[in-house]
C-alpha cells in the first residue's frame, strides 16, 4: 500500500489536488518515497522511537541512574523492588516510596524486608546524589530521579551486595547495545570489501571467496563462539575482552553481508550506467563505491538492522554462560549471571529483569527491520 495508492483512493478524481499530489510522488527522490512508505508502517515507526530512546538511555545513563553502579549497601542486600505509590493513608500525594526495613532471622540468618509505612519518601527530580563523572569526564552530582540525601531508591531491587539493579541495567546497556553496533560495523566493512571484490571481479576470485564463506557458515555459531571465547586469556583487561567479543561476533556476521553485497553487485555491474562509468575511465574502486553501492544502500541498512539483535542476544547468552564479558564489566548478560539457578529465580525474581530489556531491544530492532525492509523497495506495491 504505497502513499500513491492512498492518494488516488482518498480524493475524488475530479479534484484539482489529486494530480498535483501524484506529480509530487513521481518527482520524489527514492529516499523520500522510502520515508513516506516507512511512515505507513506504524509499528516500525514506534520501534524506531523506542530504539532511539534506548540509545539516548545509554548515552545519558550516568545522569538517568538514581545511583552509581558500584555503590554497595549491606543493609539492602537482595532488597526487593520498591513500588512507586500515590496514596499515603488514603490521601493522594506526589509519587513516593516506603523505605525498606531489613530484618534478619536470628536462627536462619534469612533476610526479610518490610515497608516502613510511617515514613513516605517522595521521589524528587534532579536531586543531589552519589557523585559521578558524566561520560567519564565532567564531575557531577545531580541525578534525574532520587530520594532525599542518605536514602536509597531501588526501583528494580538490589543484588547480593545491595547495588541498585536499575542503575546497573542502565550502565549495562552501554556495553550491551554498543557491542551490537560495533560488531555490525566490523561486519559491514568486511562484508562490503570482500563481497564487492567477489561480485565485481567474478571468476576464480569469486569462486574462492564463496567457497571460503561457505566453510565459515558451516560452523555452528555457538560452539565456534564458545571455542573463541574460551581462548581469551583470563588476564586480559576489560577493554581487550570487549573488543575481542565484538570481533568474535562479527566473524560470522560479515559472511551474510558479503553475500548480499555480492549478489547486488553482480546484478548492478551489468547496468548501462556502470558500463558508461567504465568507458569514461572511472577507476574500478570508485565504480564500486560511488556507482554500485549507492544502488543498494537501503538493502544494506535492512540487513544491518536485522543483524544487530542477533549480536545483542549472542553477547547476552555468552556472558550469561560466563564465557563473554566478566564482572566488573557491566552488561546485561553479566547481570544475568546472578540469576543462573532455580533458587535465585525463585527467591529474587527481579534479578531476571535485565532480560526484559534484552527482549525489548531485540523485538524493537526486529520490528524496525521489518518496516525498513518494506520501505527499502518503494516501487513495489
Amino acid at each position: 500500500m504505497s502513499a500513491a495508492a492512498d492518494g488516488k483512493q482518498g480524493r475524488s478524481p475530479f479534484s484539482s489536488e489529486a494530480p498535483q499530489a501524484d506529480e509530487k510522488l513521481y518527482l520524489a527522490s527514492q529516499w523520500k518515497l522510502m520515508r513516506l512508505k516507512f511512515r505507513d508502517h506504524k509499528l516500525a515507526v514506534f520501534a524506531l522511537y523506542v530504539v532511539i530512546a534506548l540509545y539516548c538511555m545509554t548515552v545519558l545513563c550516568e545522569f538517568l541512574a538514581p545511583s552509581t553502579p558500584n555503590t554497595r549497601d549491606a543493609k539492602h542486600s537482595f532488597a526487593k523492588p520498591q513500588r512507586i505509590r500515590l496514596f499515603h493513608e488514603g490521601r493522594l500525594r506526589r509519587p513516593f516510596i516506603y523505605p525498606l526495613e531489613q530484618h534478619i532471622d536470628d536462627e536462619t540468618l534469612a533476610r526479610t524486608y518490610t515497608n516502613d509505612t510511617s515514613r513516605p519518601l517522595p521521589i524528587r527530580l534532579f536531586v543531589q546524589g552519589a557523585p559521578y563523572r558524566m561520560w567519564g569526564l565532567i564531575p557531577m552530582k545531580r541525578h534525574l530521579i532520587g530520594l532525599d540525601e542518605g536514602e536509597r531508591l531501588y526501583l528494580m531491587g538490589a543484588d547480593r551486595l545491595g547495588r541498585d539493579l536499575f542503575s546497573r541495567i542502565l550502565y549495562g546497556s552501554r556495553i550491551s547495545l554498543s557491542i551490537g553496533l560495533v560488531g555490525v560495523g566490523i561486519s559491514l566493512i568486511l562484508g562490503v570489501i570482500v563481497g564487492g571484490i567477489s561480485g565485481y571481479y567474478g571468476g576464480l576470485i569469486d569462486n574462492l571467496i564463496q567457497r571460503f564463506i561457505e566453510v565459515l557458515r558451516s560452523f555452528p555459531t555457538i560452539p565456534l563462539w564458545l571455542a573463541l571465547s574460551a581462548a581469551m586469556p583470563a588476564t586480559w583487561s576489560q577493554l581487550e575482552v570487549y573488543f575481542c567479543m565484538t570481533v568474535i561476533l562479527a566473524l560470522i556476521g560479515w559472511t551474510g553481508l558479503a553475500r548480499v553485497v555480492r549478489g547486488k553487485i553482480l546484478a548492478l555491474r551489468e547496468e548501462d550506467y556502470a558500463m558508461a562509468a567504465r568507458v569514461a575511465g572511472v577507476t574500478e574502486f570508485s565504480i564500486i563505491m560511488r556507482h554500485l553501492i549507492p544502488g543498494f544502500v537501503s538493502h544494506l541498512i535492512v540487513t544491518i538492522t536485522l543483524a544487530i539483535p542477533g549480536m545483542v542476544m549472542a553477547e547476552t547468552s555468552l556472558s550469561f554462560l560466563r564465557l563473554g564479558l566478566r564482572s566488573p564489566t557491566i552488561s546485561w548478560g553479566v547481570l544475568l549471571q546472578d540469576a543462573q539457578n532455580i533458587r535465585a529465580v525463585n527467591l529474587y525474581p527481579w534479578l531476571l529483569l535485565p532480560v526484559v530489556f534484552v527482549i525489548v531491544t531485540v523485538l524493537m530492532f526486529n520490528f524496525l527491520g521489518d518496516g525498513l525492509r518494506d520501505a527499502a523497495d518503494p516501487y513495489s506495491h
Binding site: R211, F212, E214, V215, L216, R217, S218, F219, P220, T221, I222, P223, L224, L226, A227, L228, A230, A231, P233, P309, M313, T316, S317, F320, L321, L323, A339, Q340, I342, V345, N346, L352, V355, V358, I359, V362, L363, N366, F367
Partner: protein, 331 residues
Amino acid sequence: MITFIIRRLLIMIPTLLCISIITFCIIQLPPGDYLTTYMANLAQTGESASQTEIESLRVQYGLDKALHVQYLKWLWGILHGDFGQSFSQNKPVSELIWERLALTVTISLITLVCTWIIAIPIGIYSATHQYKLSDYVFTFLGFIGMSTPGFLLALLLMTLSYNYLGTTPGGLFSDEFISAPWSLDKIVDLLKHIWVPVVILSVAGTAGLVRMVRANLLDQLEMPYVVTARAKGLTEIRLLLKYPVRVAINPIVSTLGWMLPQLVSGSVIVAMVLNLPTTGPLLLRALMEQDMFLAGSFIMMLSALTVIGTLISDILLAWVDPRIRFERQQS
C-alpha cells in the same frame, strides 16, 4: 540427479578439510597447552610434577612435535576413526563423543519435525487470514518467540516445573537410567524427558518459520494461476494445498540446511542450563581445560553435521522442486 549428488559429495571433501584446519587452529589458539593447565591444577592442589614426568607426558601426547605434524597426525587418526585421547578423562575421545552426538542429533531432529508440524499450518492460516486479528496475534507471538533467549525459557521452564510439579526437568534420563545400558525402558525414559529441550528449542525456530511460510504463501496467492484455478471452480482448500502451498513450502526445505546448525548451536546453550548429557556441557569443559582433541573432535563433528545437513537439504530441494531439477539437466 546421481551426477548431481556425486558432484555435491566431491565438493564436501575440500570443505571438510578446510573446516578441519580452522578447527585445529582454534583449539590451538589459547596460550599454552593441556599440560600447562594440568600443571596449574596440580599446583593448586599443592602437588607438583617433576620435569621429566612432564616431558614424558608431552612426548606421549605428541605435544612436542611441530604444529603441522600434530595436525596431520590428528587428521590421519580421524580418517581412521581414531579421534585421539582425551587428556582430562583419560579415555579415547571416540568413546566419549558418540553417545552425546547422537543425543544432540536426536534432539535437533525431533525439534525440526515439531517446528515444521507447528509452523506450516500456522503460516498457512496466517497468510490466508492476512491482517485479521488472528494473523496479528500469531505475528506478535512469533516476534516474542524470536526475541526470547533460549536460556531464559530453559530457566523459566525449570523454575515452573520445580514450583508446580516438584521436580526439576534437568537431564535427559531418570537417575536409575543414567549409566544403564541402552534398552527399551531407557528409550521410553528418554522420551519422557526430551520434550523439555524440544519445546524450548522449537519456540525460536517455529516463530521464524511461520514468518517465512506466511511471506512465501502471500507472494504465491497473488499469482494469476491461483485466480485461474479459482475461476475454474476448484474448492478453496484443494486449491490452496495443491498449488500455492506446494510452491511456498519449497524454500522451507532449503531452511533445513541452516536450521540444523542453528538447532545444534541453540541446544548447546539450553543443554548447559538444563544440564543435559549432550555435546554442550562437555564441549565447554573440554574447551576450558584445553582438552584439545576432545574439543576439536566435537567442533569438527558438529561442523560435519552441518555440511551433511546442507547436502541433504540440497538433494531434497532438487527432489521436491521439479524446476530446480530441470534447470540442472539443462545446464
